[in-house]
Every structure is written in structure tokens, then in C-alpha cells.
């Protein structure tokens, strides 16, 4: 008589086999990180030095100078006094409520993550827009990056690099970079075909087309991607704090374990304030530089 239990119960691998698989993979990775961990970590040293320097700069500068510089940047980007007033009020409130240092830490890491995401994301998006094959390969990777729970990819990163700023930055970037890649690709692909053909017909080189036509015309879409990226990076602040990234995330983590509602709320609001500042400033900047569209779509 044959065994028919596979009908009622899923025919899974033997427990022993599963454990063996896990052990081999874990062992191999552990071996890898033991051998190469230090080398890889040293590759990130310049970045770490910069991160520490930038954070120190923001914290060590007198608060009024930092606010002054931030306001100057906000005004330079948006040319809006209203926005400046709002930013000023939020920063003062944050300082008065005792969150100045943590906010500066978060600000520094978010700024660095955003710049790195842009630096990685735009070139990747450009490559994707030029070849359907690259697009077919990169898209599922981006899907995984966005849907895989952050904790899961934190494990190998922490195994490899330990706890600290660098793993935090990597985790944030993995989570936050997909929008800027996707929207760069989309923006370039949406550029009016005849406009691009016109450039080609007049003898533009590939480089002249990219920098003279495709990127400028894709810019509104790319800016939307950058905006998304910033928002997602800020959303990762709490998760990153679990692997030792200091900033507004750690008090939130503390309030969860100790049930400090008000502390959590204040720090949460500070994150929201940062998000709104980043969002409004980048939006008004984008709008200001896209004046030629004058209410028209980019066709």
C-alpha cells in the first residue's frame, strides 16, 4: 500500500534537510564575512569619516548659525519668505523641546543618504531607460528592495559590517533608492519622441541628447522621485536606530519599550517636521526651475 499522506499534508523537505540548507548558507556567509568583512568595512571608511564630520559640524556649530544656513538654503531654493518663516518656527520649536541634537543627527544622515541615493539612482535610472533588457533585470530587483522587510536585509548587513552608522546608511539607501531609479527611468522614457528625434536629426550626440533634452525634460519626474526618496529615508529613521544609528529614531524606540507616549509623539513630530521641510523645499525648487512648462504637460 502506498503512502498517500502527501495529499493531506504539504510534501515538505525533511527537517534535517532544511536545517542542513540553512546551516550551509549561514556558514558560507559567516565564512565570507569573517574573511572579507574587514576589507569591505575599510572600503566604507571615507564615507564613515565624512558622516562623522558632517554630524559633528551640524551639532558643534552654534544653533543660530545652523538655523541661519538652513534658512539661506531654503530661501535660495524656494525664494519664498512664507516657507522660510515656517521652517524657522519648526526649528525653534524643535530646539525648545530639547530635540536639537537628535534632529541634527537625523538631518545629517538623511542628507547623506539622499545625496548617495541620487548619486546611485539617477545613473541607474538612465541606464535602465536606454535598454529594455536592463529595465527587465532591474525592475524585479527594485521590487524586492521595496517589499522585503527591512529587518531581513539588515541581518546580512549587520553580520558583515556590525552595528553602526554605515549599516544604517546602507539599509536606508536600499529602502529609499528605488523611487528615484524608477522615476528617472520613467521620466526619460516619457520624453516626447519627436522632440528627441529632432535633436537626433540635427546631429546631436548621445551625450548632447541626454544632457540637453532627456534629463531636462525628465526633471519634473525625477524631482518627484527624489522627493519620494527623501520621504522614505525619513521613514527608515526608526528602523535604522535599531542598529545603532543615533538621532530622532532612538527616543522613539525607547518610548515604545517604556511606553513614553509624549516622548514618542514629540520625536515623531520632529521627523514629520523634517519631512515637510524637505518636501516643500524640493517641490518649490522643482516648480521654480520648470517655469517654462507654464501649466502645460511636458509634450
Amino acid at each position: 500500500m502506498s503512502d498517500t499522506s502527501w495529499l493531506s499534508k504539504f510534501p515538505q523537505l525533511e527537517r534535517g534537510d532544511l536545517i542542513a540548507i540553512r546551516k550551509t548558507l549561514d556558514g558560507a556567509y559567516r565564512e565570507f564575512s569573517r574573511n572579507y568583512g574587514d576589507t569591505i568595512e575599510s572600503l566604507f571608511d571615507p564615507l564613515l569619516t565624512f558622516l562623522i564630520w558632517f554630524e559633528k559640524l551640524l551639532i558643534a556649530s552654534p544653533w543660530w548659525l545652523t538655523i541661519g544656513v538652513i534658512l539661506a538654503i531654503v530661501y535660495g531654493a524656494s525664494r519664498s519668505w512664507k516657507l522660510c518663516t515656517g521652517v524657522f518656527a519648526s526649528l525653534i520649536a524643535i530646539g525648545v523641546l530639547g530635540m536639537w541634537d537628535d534632529t541634527m543627527r537625523t538631518l545629517s544622515i538623511i542628507t547623506v543618504c539622499t545625496l548617495l541615493s541620487i548619486g546611485i539612482g539617477i545613473p541607474t535610472g538612465i541606464l535602465m531607460s536606454r535598454s529594455n533588457r536592463v529595465q527587465a533585470i532591474v525592475t524585479p530587483i527594485l521590487d524586492v528592495m521595496q517589499t522585503m522587510p527591512a529587518f531581513v536585509y539588515l541581518i546580512p548587513v549587520v553580520m558583515l559590517l556590525g552595528i553602526g552608522k554605515i549599516p544604517g546608511v546602507i539599509a536606508v539607501i536600499i529602502y529609499a533608492v528605488p523611487p528615484v531609479i524608477r522615476l528617472t527611468n520613467l521620466g526619460i522614457r516619457l520624453v516626447n519622441k519627436e522632440t528627441l528625434e529632432a535633436a537626433t536629426a540635427f546631429g546631436a550626440t548621445a551625450k548632447q541628447r541626454l544632457f540637453g533634452i532627456q534629463l531636462p525634460l525628465a526633471m519634473p519626474t525625477i524631482m518627484a522621485g527624489i522627493n519620494q526618496t527623501i520621504m522614505m529615508a525619513l521613514a527608515m529613521v526608526v528602523v535604522a536606530s535599531m542598529i545603532g544609528v543615533k538621532g530622532l529614531g532612538q527616543p522613539v524606540l525607547k518610548s515604545i519599550t517604556n511606553q513614553y507616549f509624549t516622548l514618542g509623539l514629540f520625536n515623531g513630530l520632529a521627523i514629520v517636521a523634517l519631512a515637510i521641510i524637505f518636501d516643500r523645499v524640493s517641490q518649490t525648487y522643482a516648480k521654480r526651475t520648470q517655469k517654462h512648462l507654464g501649466g502645460m504637460n511636458n509634450d
Binding site: E197, H292, G294
Partner: protein, 403 residues
């Protein structure tokens, strides 16, 4: 006389030559090609393979200095065809030669140089760059050639003025009307001074008045700058008006290539015939389409030498032109009478000259007919500065109007 007076285009050399050109759109175009060659129709190929036949066995040549019109209904493959001239689309099969050089063999760099200096293009949907001002759009071709900024802006504003948009330079394309944008596209194409101009329905967004003005301007420009123009239109009247030769395209196949008169008087198939059936010929044809070279021009000279040159060319009369252009007609009989009095007198005098009125090359035949009445001479055609550019024999006029 007709034999001697070949229309000017026929003497010119071939500039662009296309032979055996096929264009099939789709992923596996090459594998569908045999089916297309076997004569399956566009619809059959589409139904069986999902591929669109764009062009099928196109053979044509464009002469230097002519306006070559490609005409056909929507979807007949006009835009597809014109994109092959500067290789915005590569053919599935076939050869494209410009000045005898196979442009399919150009390297990437050579192709860029070719596009910068040999050809420029006006696009059906303008293809303007929305993030550049009008003047920067016009100067674009020069900008990518790294022409100095003041120089290219000067040249751009001059062309902008030519197309009637002086003062719009600092606007963005979105702030202009469709017709104005079209003219920006035209100025942009002219600004690079390329020898060959590709124009894809360049005038279809214009209102009738500006349109006919632009047509005149184009003809004038072409005469002045000796450009070769490939002009696409779906409007037969426009084709007849400006074309030196017309190619008629149907479902990706060339039905007929010929001079406007040929198309009108001897349509090659039912399709072309249906096209031209309702055309008012006298209105549709411009005088220049019937115009022939003059071989009996007489300069200001003595009566005696004028008789000699009429004898030499075996003509009964001649068209007298001096520095100020066309003056009138003198006949042999009058000259002989005058010779009896004074054979050294100048023929350019009121007693001898018959003031046969002249017509312009761009006016319609219909409007020229009154000028052809009241005398028995061929109709002189002069351009704006009074220079005699050709004549229209009476027999030609009669033939066009009759059948």
C-alpha cells in the same frame, strides 16, 4: 521647341537615390520580409504576424535643387519614408544613397556630421524643445555644432524674422500658437543652412492665408538658396502648387512619381485618378509647373544682330531683356521692317517692343489666363526683380485645360 526646352530639373544630377526599400515594423521584421515580398497585403501581414508593413519596394530618386513632394493619405507611410532620408529609421532592407554615397555604411560619427551639415528636418508635430526659448530652439542645430553664441543667436533671429516671428525669441514654445510653433520649426531647420530640407507636413498647421504665403516663401527660398526640398503633404493642391515632382504613396507603395502635369493628365492608376479627379487644374497648377526654359531671349542690341540671333535659333520672335529685366517681345517681321530704316537702332525701344504682360512663377494658372489672351506669344514668367525665368507655351496651357 519642347525638346529643346527641357524643364530645368531634368538636367540636374541625382542627389538622393533610394532603391528596393522595405520597412516592416515589429520584432522579427526580417523573418516577415519574404511574406511581404511575396505580395501579401498590409492587412494580411498584420493579421498573420502582428507586423506592420510601413513601406514596400520603394524606388525613387531626388534631383539636386528640386522640390520633391511625397503625397498620400493618413497612414500611407509618408512620415516613415522621410525618416529614412536622415536615418531616424533604418530600413529593414534597401539602399539609400546621397550624392552616390551609401548612407547605411556611415559610421556613427560620419552620420552625426551628415545630419549636422547635409540635411535638416521640419517635424509634423513640430518636435520643439519645450524647455528652450524660441530663439534657442531655432539656434539648436548650431548650438550642438558648438557655434559661438552671439553668432548663432544672430543667425537665429534673422531666420525668425524671415518666418515672421521677430520679437517672439524670448517666449517658450508653449506660449505660441500651433501655426507659430510650426514656423519656429521651419526657422530651426533653415538655420543650419543644410543643403537638403526634409519637411513633414510643415504647413498643415497653418491657416490658408499664411499657408499660401509660406508656400510662396518656400518656392522663393528654394530658387534663391538652391536647396533640395523633400516635402510631405496630404493636400494635393499644395503638392501641385509647389512640387517640381510628386510621388504618390498608398499603403506603403509608390503609385506614381511624376511632374504635377503628368499626375494630373495621366494618372497611373485608379487611386491616383480618384485623387486628381475633382481638381480644378487651372487653379491647382502654378505657372511654374508648366514653365519651360527660354531659348529666345534677346538682350538690348541692334536690330541687325537681333535678326541674326533669331535666325540662329530659328524663332519667329524673341523676349527682350535688359539690365532691368524683361521688357517685351519683338517679332521677326517687325525687326525686318525696322531694319529697312536703320539696322543699327536698339531693339529696346517703344516702337518695336510689344508689351506682352508677364506672370509670376507662383501664381495659379487660372489667374494667368487673362494675361495669355490677346496675343499669340508664349507667356513670359518673371520673378520679383523682373528677371525672366521661363515661358509657358500656349500649347501647354491648352492641353492642361482641355482634357
Amino acid at each position: 521647341m519642347t525638346d529643346l526646352n527641357k524643364a530645368s530639373t531634368e538636367e540636374n544630377e541625382t542627389l538622393i537615390e533610394i532603391s528596393g526599400l522595405y520597412q516592416v515594423f515589429g520584432n522579427k521584421a526580417k523573418s516577415v520580409l519574404p511574406m511581404v515580398k511575396a505580395g501579401k497585403s498590409k492587412d494580411e501581414v498584420l493579421a498573420e504576424t502582428g507586423h506592420t508593413v510601413g513601406l514596400r519596394d520603394i524606388n525613387l530618386d531626388v534631383k539636386r535643387g528640386e522640390i520633391f513632394v511625397i503625397m498620400g493619405l493618413s497612414g500611407s507611410g509618408k512620415s516613415t519614408m522621410i525618416r529614412h532620408f536622415n536615418r531616424l529609421i533604418d530600413p529593414t532592407e534597401g539602399q539609400i544613397k546621397v550624392e552616390g554615397e551609401d548612407i547605411m555604411k556611415l559610421t556613427d560619427d560620419e552620420l552625426i556630421q551628415f545630419r549636422r551639415h547635409k540635411m535638416s528636418m521640419v517635424f509634423q508635430h513640430f518636435g520643439l524643445m519645450p524647455h528652450r526659448t524660441v530663439i534657442d530652439n531655432v539656434a539648436y542645430g548650431l548650438a550642438i555644432q558648438n557655434v559661438d553664441k552671439t553668432e548663432r543667436l544672430a543667425s537665429a533671429s534673422q531666420w525668425l524674422e524671415t518666418v515672421g516671428l521677430a520679437g517672439y525669441g524670448d517666449q517658450y514654445p508653449a506660449q505660441l500658437s500651433g501655426g507659430q510653433q510650426q514656423r519656429v520649426g521651419l526657422a530651426r531647420a533653415l538655420c543650419t543652412n543644410a543643403e537638403i530640407l526634409l519637411m513633414d507636413e510643415a504647413f498643415s498647421a497653418l491657416d490658408p492665408l499664411i499657408r499660401s504665403e509660406m508656400q510662396d516663401q518656400l518656392i522663393e527660398l528654394q530658387a534663391k538658396l538652391k536647396k533640395t526640398i523633400i516635402f510631405i503633404t496630404h493636400d494635393l493642391d499644395e503638392a501641385l502648387r509647389i512640387g517640381d515632382r510628386i510621388a504618390i504613396l498608398k499603403d506603403g507603395i509608390l503609385s506614381q512619381v511624376g511632374k504635377p502635369v503628368d499626375i494630373l493628365l495621366s494618372p497611373a492608376d485608379d487611386y491616383v485618378e480618384a485623387f486628381v479627379k475633382d481638381v480644378n487644374r487651372a487653379r491647382a497648377l502654378s505657372t511654374q509647373t508648366l514653365m519651360q526654359n527660354v531659348n529666345n531671349t534677346l538682350e538690348s542690341q541692334s536690330v541687325e544682330s537681333a535678326i541674326n540671333s533669331l535666325n540662329a535659333s530659328q524663332q519667329e520672335y524673341g523676349f527682350v531683356c535688359n539690365n532691368e529685366g524683361y521688357q517685351g517681345v519683338v517679332t521677326r517681321s517687325q525687326l525686318e521692317q525696322a531694319a529697312a530704316n536703320d539696322s543699327n537702332a536698339d531693339i529696346c525701344c517703344d516702337e518695336l517692343l510689344i508689351k506682352v504682360p508677364s506672370v509670376s512663377p507662383t501664381q495659379s494658372l487660372q489667374s494667368a489666363i487673362p494675361e495669355a489672351l490677346g496675343h499669340n506669344f508664349a507667356l513670359p514668367v518673371t520673378c520679383k526683380d523682373g528677371k525672366l525665368v521661363g515661358t509657358i507655351p500656349r500649347s501647354e496651357i491648352a492641353q492642361v485645360l482641355e482634357s
